[in-house]
C-alpha cells in the first residue's frame, strides 16, 4: 500500500484491525469473562442453566450459518441433536459394540452428524423455501420415531443413559467448563466465517442470489460445506446434551426444542453472531424467570417469534446496531475517480473478443432473440438499444449465462461459453450489473463490494474457520481491493454504512464497484442510468469510458439515448429480437429505420 492521501482506505483498515475491532469484540470478551468466572458468583442451579445454554449454543452456532447467513429455513434441525445424542450415548454405553471412550464417541457422533447434516440439508438445493422447511420437519419426526422403535439399540421409550465424560469434566462445574470451552470455540469459528468471504457469500446467496452467481459463488458447494459443519456441531451438541440430561428418551427431542433454536437465531438477528448468542442465552434463561408459566414456554417462544417477525425482523442485532443509526450526510454527490482505475484493473490486458453467433431464443412462441450476431471488443463501449421487448436484456442474460440459447453460441476469444453455468462467468472475468441493484441490504457497502472478489480468495473454508494465515491474507487483500474499488466510484466514505441506507443512484455505483472487483475483461451493464439524475448520468458515462480505456470491453444495454450516443464507440439496435442496425452513434442516429422503430409508425 503506497501513501495515497486521497484514498481513504487507511482509516477503514484501522477500523477492522485496530480500534474498531475492539468495539466489535468487547461484548464477546465480556461474555467470555462472565462465563469463565461464573462459578464464583452463581450457584449450582444456575450452573446447570449456563451449561445448557452453552450446549444449545454449540448447535445454534452452526445452525446460525445455515439459517441466519444462508437463509435456509431448516426448522427441523433438532433431528441432528437427536442423532448426536443417541450416537454418543449408545457408543459410550456399549449397546452395539464394546464401549468407546466418551471423547471418541463424541467425535464419531460429530462425523456422523456431518454426513447427516448434508443429507438433511441437501433438499435445500432443489426445493423452494417452504418445501425445504417441511422436509426438515419430516426428518425431525422420523429420527425421533426411529429412536422410539429401534429398541435394541436406543432402548426405545425407556431410553439410554447419557455419556459421562472423564475427570476433570465429570463434576458439575467441570462439565460446565467443557461445554463452555466448546461453545467459545464455536463462537470463535463462526465469527471467523462471518468475517470471511464464505460468510459474505452466504448472505449473498440469501439476499441476492443472482448477483452471487454473477460473482462466481457456487451455491451447492458452499451450502454443502455449511451443512457439514452445522451437522457436525449439532451432533456434538447432542452428545453434550445427553450428558447434561444424564438420561435421554425420545420425548426429550421435541419440535419445541427445534423451534427454540430457530427462534434464538431470529431474535438475535440474521447475519450476526452476537445476536444469536444473546438470543440463545435469553431463551434458555427465560423459562426460569417465568416460573409459573413454564408449561407455556413454547407458547411464549412462538409469540416472541411472531412479534419479532412483524415488528423487528432485524432482531437484537439491529437493535444494538448503533453505528447505523448515525445520520448520513444528506446532500451526497457521487464523484467517481476514474484516475484510480488503472491501479484497480491493471493494464496490458488482452482477453480477446466476446461474440454471439446466430443466437436464437424463444419464450413460448415469442422470438425474444432471433438469430443475433454481436461482437464486443475489449477497450470499446458497445451500446445495445431497442424498443421494449426487442431482446436487449435477454441478450445480456444469454451472455451472462442466465438463459440458454436454443441455437447459436456465445464465445469468448473463440472458446464457447457454456450456458446456464452462471457462476463460471466470473472466472472468465465477465462481470455484470442488474436492472434493479441486487445487493445485500443488511450488510455494509464494503462487504457488498468484497463479495465481488470472492473467487480471488485462496483459503479454504477450514482455513477461515480457524483463522489461519491464508485466510487473513485473503481478507486483507479483498479489503484493500474493495476500498480501492469504492474509491474509484467515489463512495469510500460510505464503506461502513449498511447498504439499504443508500440512495438508489449510489447503489448502482456500488454494484459497478462490485463488478470491478473481478478486474473484468468484459463488463455488462443492464440499464444503469435508470433512476439517475442528469448529472449522475454524465459522470457515469465518463466513468464507463475510463473503464473501457483500461482495456475492458463494456456492453451497455440502455434506454437513455443521450448516454448511448455520448459514450459508445459502437451501437447495435435491436428490434423484435433481430439486429436492425449497427454502426457508430452518428450513423445510427440518422438511420431512418432506427428513428422509425423508436418513434413508431
Amino acid at each position: 500500500m503506497t501513501q495515497t492521501p486521497t484514498v481513504q482506505s487507511r482509516p477503514a483498515r484501522a477500523a477492522v484491525f485496530g480500534a474498531g475491532a475492539f468495539a466489535h469484540a468487547w461484548p464477546f470478551l465480556a461474555l467470555l469473562v462472565i462465563g469463565l468466572t461464573l462459578p464464583l458468583f452463581a450457584g449450582g442451579y444456575w450452573g446447570v442453566i449456563a451449561t445448557r445454554a452453552c450446549v444449545y449454543w454449540v448447535l445454534v452456532a452452526g445452525l446460525n450459518l445455515m439459517v441466519g447467513f444462508a437463509g435456509q429455513l431448516a426448522i427441523g434441525w433438532v433431528a441432528l441433536l437427536t442423532l448426536g445424542a443417541y450416537t454418543t450415548s449408545v457408543l459410550a454405553a456399549g449397546n452395539v459394540m464394546p464401549a468407546l471412550h466418551p471423547y471418541l464417541a463424541l467425535a464419531i457422533a460429530g462425523a456422523i452428524g456431518a454426513v447427516f447434516g448434508v443429507i438433511v440439508g441437501l433438499p435445500a438445493l432443489r426445493l423452494r423455501t417452504f418445501y425445504f422447511a417441511i422436509t426438515t420437519l419430516g426428518f425431525a419426526t422420523i429420527v425421533t420415531q426411529i429412536a422410539l422403535a429401534w429398541q435394541s439399540v436406543t432402548g426405545g421409550g425407556v431410553g439410554v443413559p447419557g455419556p459421562i465424560f472423564p475427570a476433570p469434566f465429570d463434576s458439575q462445574w467441570g462439565f460446565y467448563y467443557f461445554c463452555f470451552g466448546l461453545a467459545a470455540i464455536c463462537t470463535w469459528m463462526t465469527m471467523n466465517i462471518a468475517a470471511s468471504r464464505f460468510g459474505r457469500a452466504l448472505t449473498a446467496i440469501r439476499d441476492a442470489e443472482v448477483a452471487a452467481e454473477a460473482s462466481g459463488i457456487a451455491k451447492p458447494a458452499l451450502l454443502v460445506t455449511v451443512f457439514l459443519f452445522s451437522g457436525a456441531v449439532a451432533a456434538i451438541s447432542g452428545g453434550l446434551f445427553a450428558s447434561l440430561q444424564s438420561y435421554i428418551t425420545p420425548d426429550a427431542f421435541t419440535i419445541d426444542l427445534s423451534v427454540l433454536f430457530f427462534i434464538a437465531i431470529l431474535i438475535g438477528g440474521r447475519g450476526s453472531i452476537l445476536g444469536p448468542v444473546l438470543g440463545t442465552i435469553l431463551l434458555t434463561v427465560l423459562p426460569e424467570f417465568a416460573a409459573p408459566l413454564v408449561a407455556w414456554s413454547t407458547f411464549l417462544y412462538a409469540v416472541l417469534l411472531l412479534v419479532i417477525v412483524l415488528a423487528m425482523p432485524g432482531g437484537i442485532a439491529e437493535l444494538i446496531d448503533f453505528k447505523n443509526r448515525r445520520p448520513l450526510q444528506s446532500n451526497r454527490a457521487i464523484v467517481p475517480r476514474p484516475d484510480l482505475l488503472p491501479r484497480l484493473l491493471g493494464t496490458n490486458r488482452d482477453p480477446g473478443t466476446l461474440t454471439l453467433e446466430q443466437v436464437a431464443l424463444s419464450f413460448g412462441g415469442v422470438h425474444a432473440v432471433d438469430g443475433l450476431d454481436l461482437t464486443i471488443r475489449p477497450g470499446e463501449v458497445h451500446g445495445l438499444i431497442g424498443p421494449n421487448g426487442s431482446g436487449k436484456t435477454t441478450t445480456l442474460n444469454v451472455i451472462s449465462g442466465y438463459y440458454a440459447p436454443q441455437s447459436g453460441t456465445a464465445k469468448l476469444d473463440g472458446v464457447v461459453l457454456p450456458a446456464l453455468v452462471r457462476h463460471t462467468r466470473a472466472r472468465h472475468r465477465i462481470a455484470r450489473t442488474f436492472q434493479t441493484p441486487r445487493l445485500v441490504g443488511e450488510a455494509s457497502v464494503l462487504d457488498n463490494v468484497m463479495i465481488g472478489g470472492t473467487i480471488d480468495g485462496r483459503g479454504t473454508f477450514a482455513e477461515s474457520l480457524l483463522s489461519l494465515p491464508r485466510h487473513r491474507r485473503d481478507e486483507a487483500m479483498l479489503h484493500e481491493t474493495a476500498m480501492l474499488a469504492l474509491a474509484t466510484v467515489g463512495l469510500e466514505s460510505l464503506a461502513a454504512v449498511r447498504a439499504d441506507r443508500l440512495q438508489h443512484s449510489e447503489l448502482r455505483f456500488v454494484e459497478i464497484a462490485r463488478g470491478l472487483m473481478l478486474r473484468p475483461a468484459f463488463l455488462l451493464l443492464d440499464e444503469p442510468a435508470a433512476g439517475l439524475s442528469a448529472e449522475e448520468i454524465t459522470r457515469l458515462g465518463a466513468f464507463l469510458v475510463a473503464i473501457a480505456k483500461t482495456g475492458t470491453g463494456v456492453l451497455l444495454v440502455e434506454h437513455h439515448a443521450d448516454l448511448i450516443f455520448d459514450i459508445c464507440h459502437h451501437v447495435t439496435v435491436l428490434n423484435l429480437g433481430k439486429m436492425l442496425a449497427a454502426g457508430t452513434p452518428a450513423e445510427i442516429r440518422s438511420h431512418p429505420e432506427v428513428v422509425n422503430a423508436y418513434l413508431g409508425g
Binding site: H504, A530, G531, V595
Partner: protein, 243 residues
Amino acid sequence: MPISAADPLLRIAGLSTGYGKIGVLRGIDLTVGASEVVALLGPNGAGKTTLLRAVSGLLPWSGGVHFDGRDLSGSGPRETAKAGLAHVIEGHRVFTQQSVLDNLRLAAYDLRRGERAARVEEAFGFFPEIAAKRHERAVALSGGQQQMLAVAQGLVRRPRLLMLDEPSAGLSPVLVDRVFVVVRRLRETGTAVLLVEQLIEKALALADRVYALARGAIVLEARTDEVDLPRRLEHAYFAIADR
C-alpha cells in the same frame, strides 16, 4: 371542444412517483378534459406506464391528482374505478383461464346483477368480434382479440375517462385501426381517453392534444393541429435541440 382550464376532468399537478427507492417521475403536470382524447408519447423507460399506474392508484404518489373534482389521494384502483376512471393495463392481460363473458363480468364486479348484464352487453357492442366468442376461454383468443377484450373490460363501467396503455403493442395494423375506431367512437359518446402509445402517427391522427414524456418529465405539450409537431417530437425524444 374548448374546456375551461379551471376544471378539466383529470388534473395532475406536480406528481412524483417511482418504485421503492427508484424515482421515475418528477413534478408532472397534465390535464385531460371531458370528451378529449389526449395522447401521451415518449421513448421507452420514460415513465408513461408509471404515470398511468400512479393515477389509477396502483402505485403510491405524491403531488396532486384530481378527477371529476375529487381528490384521488389515497385512492386505490378500486376507488378510482368506481369514480369513473378505467385503466386498461399494458400487455392485454386478460384472465386466460376464464371465458370472455366472465372476463367482462369481473370488470363489473361491483355492479348489481341486472345492471352488470346490461353493461356487459354494451361493451360487447363495441367489439362484435369478441361478442361472437363470448363463451370461449380467453386463452383461445388471438393477441388482438385479447386486446379488444381488455379494452372492453375498461368500457364495462361506462367510465368518464379511459386510460389505455399501449393498446397497439403486438397488434397487426388492421387490429390497431379497429381499436382506434372504438376510441374515436368513445369521444363521440362523451368519454375522455388518455392514450399512451408508441405509434406516433396514428396517435397524433386520433388525439386532440399530445404530451411527450422523456426522462421522467413532460418535455412537450401541444395541440395536435400545431405545425411542425413530428420534428418537435423527435427532438424531444432525443433531446437533440439543446446541444
